[in-house]
């Protein structure tokens, strides 16, 4: 289980995250929703230690990982796919994947690259292409595949649907859904695209101005018309 408790962070005087608490269960997709500027990216970056927390804690399977150095988190089983995809454009597909497998979750077996190509056959076809030659959808597949190379137990995804065609989004979300089951993953899916995210999520957390304003099963959130209009934009 992945648990965030009272997590807070600020950019100078601006409080971007204000006492956020939620849990994400193994084998489930937990969607973190909210408008642009709600603090979703800040939440993930604070969990990863890219932004310093001012208060609160982060627990992974009972271990306190608050303020652990960013570089060490993959060994604890935490993978974070940042906003804007974060492929290393100058490296090839295979090199990006190899890189993902270098610092694995402690005690885990290496993930064969071929396994990623089974999940994403399109990547296999483009294995020797440089990442900057890939389409947006292929890049998203690459960063998810690269994260899986580290054998994570928790996968944080920041707006994977950003800038992708609806058909590609559906394809990637389907794959995610499958992965959660087969790999026993805990997925925290940050999305502005609330409708799509709720369609594959088990649970949803809604942020507004750095605070949690709702936390409920995904179906419940999707059915709450008032909440949808106020915070989710659909």
């Amino acid at each position: 289980m992945f648990a965030v408790e009272d997590l807070s962070a600020a950019y100078g005087p601006v409080k971007a995250l204000n006492g956020v608490t939620f849990t994400a269960s193994r084998g489930q997709v937990t969607a973190v929703l909210g408008a642009n500027g709600a603090g979703k990216t800040t939440l993930l970056r604070t969990v990863s230690g890219l932004v310093r927390s001012t208060r609160g804690s982060v627990q992974l399977d009972g271990k306190d990982i608050t303020r652990t150095a960013t570089e060490k988190l993959t060994s604890y089983g935490l993978a974070h796919v940042p906003e804007g995809r974060g492929v290393i454009a100058e490296l090839t597909v295979v090199e990006n994947l190899r890189l993902g497998g270098l610092h694995r979750s402690t005690g885990s077996e290496p993930m064969p690259i071929e396994r990623i190509f089974e999940l994403f056959p399109r990547l296999g076809e483009r294995r020797d292409a440089t990442a900057h030659q890939l389409s947006g959808g292929e890049r998203q597949m690459l960063v998810i595949g690269r994260a899986l190379m580290a054998r994570p137990s928790v996968l944080l995804l920041d707006e994977p649907s950003l800038g992708l065609a609806p058909r590609v989004v559906a394809q990637i979300f389907d794959l995610l859904r499958g992965l959660v089951q087969t790999e026993e993953l805990t997925v925290v899916l940050v999305e502005q695209n609330a409708r799509s995210a709720l369609s594959i999520a088990d649970h949803g957390v809604v942020l507004n101005l750095g605070k949690v304003v709702a936390s409920a099963p995904a179906a419940e959130l999707a059915a709450d018309e008032q909440l949808r209009h106020a915070y989710l934009g659909f």
Binding site: E71, A89, L99, L102
Partner: protein, 292 residues
């Protein structure tokens, strides 16, 4: 024909040294986006360390290895202590810092070793090789220079292309934040980048000094020539740096051989200007558009 062959061979030897020097600049540029104007001075310091050892009767090749090790350590310390605080800040800060470092190293060497010229030995002959009753324009030390530089290049290619460490170093240089998220110790990789670059620079220093006279200013022309070679090939491309070095070495050798030595610096600057005007990212810059 004989003259053409001689100038070409001479140009290749010269080019190999420029290539090594450009490669050192390229390694630092790739990892920290800094043009290291102190590179020549750092190599000068390591060469003096080797000279001190050789004068104390340490065998030449032991001193050679010691110079490389000293370069490695010097590069690492300079990155950690001097460069780290300005990494990611305005580019001019780092440039001014490396220029300052250039002067400090110069001054310290002059104070420690004096400014007089000293002879530097070579491990093999520096006389032109004789074929029949005439001689050709290359010396055994020239051949050694080309071989050593080629070995250094090959080593770097293997490191960057085929090893996990090389992959980490490239990733850290291209995208620090993403690399950290993937578990790469980015700070360490940048230190290692500077250390490797300074070690390559130390090799270049030994090859330039061999069979010649050294004083604290003996590497100074390489501040300019190494930079021109690196820009010519594209600061981002190790292969480009090597080719840039060879092109520069050959060009200057032909100019010196057929027109006159005094024109060489002018031609070098001309090449730099043309490259900056026509193809500022260098002849071999990767087509990849870098995301900012």
């Amino acid at each position: 024909m004989q003259q053409f062959l001689d100038t070409t061979l001479g140009g290749l030897v010269l080019g190999a040294v420029y290539a090594a020097f450009a490669l050192a600049l390229c390694l630092i540029w790739r990892s920290t986006r800094i043009v290291n104007f102190a590179q020549a001075a750092m190599a000068m310091v390591t060469t003096y360390i080797a000279l001190t050892l050789i004068n104390a009767d340490v065998p030449y090749w032991v001193a050679f290895v010691a110079a490389i090790a000293a370069g490695f350590g010097l590069g690492a310390v300079i990155e950690r202590v001097i460069i780290r605080p300005v990494e990611g800040k305005a580019e001019l800060n780092a440039v001014i810092l490396t220029l300052g470092l250039f002067m400090v190293l110069h001054g310290l060497t002059a104070i420690t070793f004096g400014v007089q010229h000293r002879g530097f030995p070579a491990p093999v002959s520096t006389n032109a090789i004789a074929v029949g009753d005439s001689s050709i324009g290359i010396t055994p030390f020239g051949i050694l220079t080309i071989v050593v530089v080629a070995v250094v290049m090959a080593g770097l290619v293997v490191l960057f292309r085929f090893t996990d460490l090389g992959l980490r170093m490239r990733a850290a240089a291209f995208n620090g934040e993403v690399s950290r998220l993937l578990g790469v110790r980015v700070g360490r990789m940048l230190t290692l980048g500077w250390a490797l670059a300074a070690a390559v620079g130390a090799v270049a220093g030994m090859l330039i000094a061999g069979g010649d006279l050294v004083n604290p200013a003996f590497m100074d022309p390489f501040v300019i020539y190494g930079f021109i070679a690196a820009v010519l090939g594209g600061l981002d491309s190790p292969l480009g740096s090597v080719i840039g070095g060879l092109i520069l070495g050959l060009s200057l050798s032909y100019v010196t051989g057929y027109i006159g030595e005094h024109l060489a610096p002018l031609v070098a600057l001309g090449i730099l200007m043309v490259v900056l005007l026509v193809r500022p990212s260098g002849l071999f810059a990767a087509a990849a558009a870098r995301r900012v």
